[in-house]
């Protein structure tokens, strides 16, 4: 290629990428970096009115957060969502994927779409629907449970039931997405392997443990990372279904950040929360990558 051709190619490259790059720098990179700086200031409603009121306060926002019981409550709730929700949702998704992948299944595409449908619905709309499904007196779920002799549960009104209630909703909403990822991985597992194990007399669970799971280990890891990241970002669910209650049992870290920033206008403190949230997600991702490398999955 001629030198002139190369210059025009380079010029075109910059011309085609720069609008997107400018937008990414302006509306993604800059705010993310500014979040760190903002977290070292006392930006509040007074600074919002007059920037002259802004002061640099060092680590004061972080110190104050460690003394705020609601921050620790939000942190603990979020970690509980991660610890309980991730295995629950990964298992649910894998079960659905194995069911849809079964070779004896008829009309596969129909079931696949039906199981995926909740994922594309509007979160706020389905949260409203589930608030009524979970209603203590008129809810469908308690009605179904009554056939099994379970007394009515105050799903969204009791501090112990609220977390499972939200997890059931989040699980219903998201398992279809993970299922599709698992399905793609399952289709690469050779049928012969499974067949050979069956002939050797291995039961369903033994085959799952010794044939299927090792073959799709990297996908299990990928889905876990995605689910953990999703659990750290729960916001609309508590906002619509419980408003963080009862007894602050569903205040998540993002919900806490929203209230700090946009309800109380403590933007400095809210930015500190955002930065801590980022560190949490980064740490979890790195740990899972490390584990994967050690086990040779990636």
């Amino acid at each position: 290629m001629t030198a002139a051709g190369r210059t025009s190619e380079a010029r075109a490259g910059w011309a085609m990428t720069s609008p997107a790059l400018v937008a990414i720098v302006l509306f993604f990179v800059l705010p993310a970096v500014a979040s760190l700086f903002l977290s070292f200031t006392d930006f509040d409603i007074y600074a919002l009115a007059d920037i002259g009121n802004l002061r640099f306060v060092g680590f004061q926002n972080y110190e104050r957060l460690t003394q705020n019981p609601l921050f620790w409550k939000a942190m603990a709730n979020t970690l509980l969502f991660v610890a309980v929700g991730t295995p629950f949702i990964v298992a649910l998704s894998l079960f659905a994927a194995m069911l849809v992948n079964s070779r004896w299944l008829k009309w596969r595409p129909v079931w696949r779409v039906a199981l995926f449908a909740p994922y594309v619905t509007t979160l706020v709309a389905t949260a409203v629907v589930w608030r009524y499904l979970l209603h203590t007196r008129y809810g469908l779920l308690n009605y179904l449970l009554s056939f099994f002799g379970v007394p009515p549960i105050d799903w969204l009104g009791s501090p112990t039931a609220s977390l499972p209630a939200i997890l059931i909703f989040v699980g219903w909403k998201t398992f279809g997405y993970n299922m599709i990822i698992f399905l793609a991985a399952l289709q690469t597992v050779p049928r012969e392997l499974d067949e050979a194990a069956r002939i050797d007399g291995a039961g369903w669970f033994a085959r799952l443990r010794h044939v299927t799971l090792p073959a799709i280990a990297p996908t299990v890891l990928l889905v876990s990372v995605l689910t953990v990241a999703g659990m750290f970002q729960l916001f609309a669910e508590p906002y619509v279904m419980t408003q963080g209650g009862p007894a602050q049992s569903t205040v998540t870290i993002l919900y806490f950040m929203y209230e700090e920033g946009f309800k109380w206008w403590n933007l400095g403190s809210g930015a500190a929360v955002a930065f801590l949230l980022f560190l949490c997600i980064l740490a979890v991702t790195l740990v899972q990558m490390r584990l994967a490398k050690r086990s040779g999955a990636i």
Binding site: M1, A114, A117, T122, L267, A274
Partner: protein
């Protein structure tokens, strides 16, 4: 074998029914008369199906305005996202320009950073630009779509270099190559990306909640959440609101599911 075939299919049907039951129930309750759903045991079908809830929704509650806002914001978000990401994705895949590769690697690394991290500063930035409480403010995050660039780039990698080289020798400019040769090849991934952005921006909640203060500008999810938090006890009308909010995207997905799922898989292997 036949028994096994039917038992697996029956189990799948049962799981599928449980999964779609909340959506069917939402639609069913939306046609019930006022107060009908607040009974024990909960009725599954409306005794006398009525459109009263929808009439009230569009009359008293003015849902038409929110529906218009949602359609406008999602359509513009989709158009802008395509305009910004398609050329960028193509350039990162096929054009050699200084710094292109390292920049792309940085973008991929940045995918780990959730957008919520920068929401507070972004709010202040848009306030300084005078974009708070405007449609433009709601659109801004969709311009910075790294995932879209990634998706388009992956697809472009499969275009043979000889094809582009031949066009260059014939004297076509880079812009002409993009428009006449690359765009037609990209049609499937463009549909995927458009669908993805439209659904995501339609369903988006946290950012519009923050940036839109004026009720006239509310999108459907923001309006629905505001009403549900005011403890509206009318199940039937809330369900009708949920139907109006979620049915358009559900139908869009069902019509174009093939494109959506292929994009999902391309996105999931990014890690």
């Amino acid at each position: 074998m036949n028994l096994r075939r039917w038992s697996v299919t029956l189990l799948a049907a049962l799981v599928a029914l449980i999964t779609v039951a909340p959506l069917l129930w939402m639609i069913s309750v939306s046609f019930m008369a006022r107060g009908e759903a607040a009974q024990f045991p909960p009725p599954l079908w409306p005794a006398n199906p009525t459109l009263e809830n929808y009439r009230e929704l569009f009359g008293t509650f003015g849902v038409g305005r929110f529906l218009f806002n949602s359609i406008l914001v999602s359509t513009l978000a989709t158009a802008l996202a395509l305009l910004f990401t398609i050329p960028a994705g193509y350039a990162f895949a096929k054009l050699r320009f200084g710094g292109g590769d390292p920049i792309f690697r940085m973008l991929v690394a940045a995918l780990v950073v959730p957008g919520q991290i920068g929401m507070l500063p972004l709010f202040l930035e848009l306030k300084a630009m005078g974009l708070v409480n405007s449609y433009a403010g709601a659109l801004v995050p969709w311009l910075a779509g790294i995932f879209g660039i990634f998706l388009v780039r992956q697809y472009c990698l499969s275009i043979p270099d000889e094809m582009l080289e031949a066009a260059r020798i014939d004297g076509a400019s880079e812009a002409q190559i993009l428009r006449r040769i690359v765009l037609p090849i990209l049609t499937p991934v463009i549909v995927t990306l458009a669908l993805y952005v439209f659904l995501s921006s339609w369903n988006d909640f946290m950012w519009p909640l923050i940036i839109l203060a004026d009720q006239d500008l509310y999108t459907l999810p923001v309006a629905l959440a505001a009403n549900s938090r005011q403890n509206v006890q009318d199940y039937e009308i809330m369900m009708a609101g949920a139907v109006v909010t979620t049915l358009p995207v559900l139908i869009l997905f069902l019509a174009l599911q093939r494109y959506y799922l292929s994009g999902l898989l391309a996105g999931s292997v990014k890690g």
